[in-house]
Symmetry: C2
Subunit: 501 residues, 2 copies
Amino acid sequence: MAKGHGSAKRGIPPKDDFNAWYPAIVEIADLVDKRYPIKGMDVWKPYGWSAMGNIDSIVRNEMSMSDHDEYNFPLLVPHELLEKENKLVQRLKMAREKGVDPSELRLDEEVEGFEKEVYWVRHAGEHKLDVPMFLRPTSETPMYTMFSLWIRSHADLPLKTFQIVNTFRYETKQTRSFIRVREIHFFEAHTAHADQSGADAQIDEDSGIVKRLLHELCLPAIICKRPVWDTFPGAWYTNAVDAIMPNGRTLQIASYHHYRDQWAKAFDITYEDSDGNQQHCHQTTFGMSERLLGAVVGVHGDDAGLIMPPSIAPIQAVVMPVASHLDEAVEPEARQIVQRLKAAGIRARLDDRDMRPGAKHYDWEIKGVPIRVEIGPRDLSNGTFVSTMRTGGKESYPLIDLELYVRKGLDDVSAELRSRSSALLESKMRVLDALPDDPKVLDDGIVYEVAFDGNDADAERLEKSTNLTLLGDDLHPYDEEVPCIATGKMTTRRQYLARMY
Amino acid sequence: MAKGHGSAKRGIPPKDDFNAWYPAIVEIADLVDKRYPIKGMDVWKPYGWSAMGNIDSIVRNEMSMSDHDEYNFPLLVPHELLEKENKLVQRLKMAREKGVDPSELRLDEEVEGFEKEVYWVRHAGEHKLDVPMFLRPTSETPMYTMFSLWIRSHADLPLKTFQIVNTFRYETKQTRSFIRVREIHFFEAHTAHADQSGADAQIDEDSGIVKRLLHELCLPAIICKRPVWDTFPGAWYTNAVDAIMPNGRTLQIASYHHYRDQWAKAFDITYEDSDGNQQHCHQTTFGMSERLLGAVVGVHGDDAGLIMPPSIAPIQAVVMPVASHLDEAVEPEARQIVQRLKAAGIRARLDDRDMRPGAKHYDWEIKGVPIRVEIGPRDLSNGTFVSTMRTGGKESYPLIDLELYVRKGLDDVSAELRSRSSALLESKMRVLDALPDDPKVLDDGIVYEVAFDGNDADAERLEKSTNLTLLGDDLHPYDEEVPCIATGKMTTRRQYLARMY
């Protein structure tokens, strides 16, 4: 290798060593700085924040198209509001254990909920606060407190809200940028409907939004209905979206929950129907976070650095004048190219730094800019430019059709990323049709597909014998019945086992 | 008044009673909901959040044009970082008292800073944290801790950063939506430069940004250099921007600070200059908040509700089909109008609710939508539409020139708001040329302009005899010398006295 070239210069570990590559690349590509003196709370650098902002923009646009309104709720939640939530969770747990309808149970004693995961604010200035508060880990409690004030009649429904905010979780596990952090950049949509069918339709809408977003991020994923014991507290059921990282571990990047009227009963969210009767609302939530960026980084990158999907790339095309000392018209032409690309709605940037082209190339490779546009004296006289794709491939095109070919190049990069990530996903999945005697006979870093229709005890046995976790039911079951891996009885339930982040 | 009409229906107090009008209108116009169970922490409703988002967009665009990069720092700050800041503040205070250069003083004892104003996080889950943390009231401490890692050489300068985040202050005073809250939607820019002249130039740039922003918000304001005792901790000087509210109280809506190298010395922010010597950076900061929206609400509104400056109006034009039962082509035409306006970059919305036109008018008046576009059967046959401005005036225009006339209407509303708010500002300001014997002889709700060049004791006497606060020096002094109100000596220093929020 020529000196100074090669990713080794920047200290990027090979991607095969994913557990070393990932934490290195997030800093080398200048997405975050992990040296902030609190574990699990990174500083977002401009490049990372801009990519995240582009993801947020796609999400905001989806919210706008589906008539969700953007709110912003306070970060702090009074402790006393948690009681309702805790009682709800406790009631559902007891109901499940006793096999009765949850609404038949009344709980009056104080119960313990997710206090263990929150940061507490009990002091301000020199005072001890009368009411302790905590930093929201998610916003059911503060939002539904207000929903019960806002919803009066069927004319107020559906209520479709979302917010994009910082949330907090006191993580005791090892932290990882974007994947497991203590301050989380979080998206949450919360809706209330007149009846279950309204909430059902919302779940369908959420499903469509997730699929379009995954398409934009060039990320394939497994979409499952989580097992009952992994359902979000208070939910009737939880659908979750898992990306598969290159090490074969799954990363939950989105989830959407059907609450039926459980939360509405806990928070007294009622409306007067057209007959004048009070009814409880049916609710859903939909959550995503900076993990979306973590999946993008982990799935698409390579030995040379990041590869940004064009839809969220902070810079979609970097423009470089080459050998401009040989012809002083080169740099003005490069500026003109940037202006033309911007006018065409492409996020373009000029790199006119006084550096060797090779050094510049490596910079933009690390950052994963999808298209590099170069123009030199020879291109100038030929009326051409050279376009290089971060995913490979380099070609000369007529300058007159600049916008067209750069746009096409971006589409090609997206298509290539989709193809690569689908191949990655397939390579990490395998069918398992018999319980192994020992988990060690299973290959490491593989997500196993199983036909499974057993009870809780069967599931425990299944997880134990594979040393993996059940992700839940694929929303697309088998077309024909096959024998359950644990019980042997015939079933169409297609489930997955994986090591989860 | 026809029944159901008039602002009384909505419970809007007359604007003359500003202290009743303001807290009522922020909720009636659906900007916020104050019923969240923590004092001083409101829920942002979509209409308010959208207006604030439009202000943020203007600010982000200014930041982009002036080459500032957007970061996002953690909310929590370890207590130990505060020590440096406290020592800096203590050192500057002592230096001022002793009349010596601050850098000559060394402080080793622990000193008290602004701990009194912060929310503390000392517990997480069931654990007491080893290192107590607090919620940022502003971000000098966390940011400069990182600046000292990022800045190595003169090539790293200038470093121009900003973020838009939630900050927290433990307010003991009475809270008011947007004006005095405990969770603050905050903008802060922080820059580092090689020398004082670099920071000087930044202050000039900030001044230009503030002036353009005030123009967009149709807000005139007083721009002052604050007295030394009102200078931001650690700053060499502070320039502050004060709007005058209708009750005559001033509201500080922006401030920008020149730090020289005081903070850099406290946080070891140094760079190697071209001669290989280590130098301390010179720094500036620039802060604004949701108070900008508070000023917009307070200054522009009237008895009927808000008046949104077109630059930030969530809805710039509301389109209403009128008497559409008389001609079924009316509603499709109204939809067409909305599409045309959107295509022209105007934030337009259709109001096709099945309600009396009068009731709709009042709704949009309360929300302060700048332009109302109406189309009925007669307009349809004439090829016209009717445009009504929220500031008054109603006219019929040819439909073929829709975009042109709506754009012109928005410009006219902006011009009218600027004219009204300048007149308001002038009506609230008066020259004071002699110290009153008793503050009671002064008119309430007036900002007084004074020639003042006295010392701290004179300032104290001046404030006592007027029962007002010195805002500081107008950046434009008098052209000719006039006698100081306190000492009688000749001066060009033009200062202001006011009751501040």
